[in-house]
Amino acid sequence: MSGEEEENAAELKIGDEFLKAKCLMNCEVARILDHKYDQLQQMSTDPTNQISQVFEKSMQYVKRFSNYKNTDAVRQAREVLSRYKLAEFELCVLGNLCPDTVEEAIAIVPSIKSKGRKLEDDAIEKMLHDLSLIKKFE
């Protein structure tokens, strides 16, 4: 595992496999797991049998930390964030943590300010503003 040593999310070194994969925000995971949970309950008479601890813990976690509660807001948030040429991983960290200030956004996702990226403070500010609007009008 040579990749293990170099892994660093702050510089977006998360391995090719995950860089290309679709990231999910907590609110999106909540919707998927909810759906799956309903399915499981319909399928089996004893649903507790089927549900793993990992599933249960993940479900509790994403419910607790979901920023957007309804489907439309979740979609809008992703749409807003995807306008800014962010990597999937960056998009989801921002969507999950909803920073209030530009400074905070850069602190939690340092890679948006790294070399070769043209994201100016103004653009970040606009992005955060748009995000907060979604939350307000949800």
């Binding site: 293990e4 797991l33 993940s58 976690y61 989801c92 960290v93 909803c98 905070e104």
Partner: protein, 177 residues
């Protein structure tokens, strides 16, 4: 961070399942085998969301079992070094505190808690600032940064820190609601 990725697995199926419901049996077995497991490479497999492709089966000599290559999509949780995420505190002691983010356990040592926070023992052990304005105890929600991961055969453990800008207890009521 949660990801939606495509994974592959060779499934062995007993001949007694061969028949009109072979696919269903295979999918059910896949879910039973894979969901809830953890590997260092892909992290925790939370839920299988769909089966993309089931390849041609190969009969094993001697046993009669058939091996099918199955491609499926799954929601996985994989923590990364340097990642910042929110977690719920589960236990506090004088060494530091443990927090949980979904299936993963994160330990924050007292060296990685800001110096102005002191350990207070008692019924509800906690870390409190000298002016008492910030308190970390069981069930507190904290934002932390993962600085190390240790991969076990069946679990991933993380070491985290809250000694950095914009980390620590989340007191925004909008988030905790």
């Amino acid at each position: 961070m949660f990801f939606h990725i495509t994974l592959e697995r060779n499934m062995q199926l007993h001949p007694r399942h061969f028949g009109p419901h072979l696919r269903d049996k295979l999918v059910a077995k896949l879910m039973k085998d894979v969901e809830g497991t953890c590997s260092g490479r892909h992290g925790f497999v939370v839920a299988i969301t769909g089966v993309e492709d089931i390849g041609k089966g190969l009969i094993r000599e001697g046993t009669g079992f058939v091996t099918f290559p199955v491609k499926y999509q799954a929601v996985v949780f994989r923590p990364f070094k340097g990642e910042i995420l929110e977690a719920v505190v589960t236990m506090v002691n004088k060494m530091g505190f443990f927090a949980e983010a979904g299936p993963v356990q994160i330990f924050v040592s007292n060296h990685l808690i800001p110096d102005d926070m002191e350990f207070q023992s008692g019924d509800m052990p906690n870390y409190t600032t000298s002016d008492g304005s910030v308190k970390i105890q069981k069930d507190s929600e904290v934002r932390l940064k993962i600085i190390g991961t240790r991969v076990d055969a069946t679990e991933i453990f993380c070491i985290g820190t809250i000694k950095d800008d914009f980390l620590g207890v989340i007191n925004d009521p909008g988030v905790t609601a």
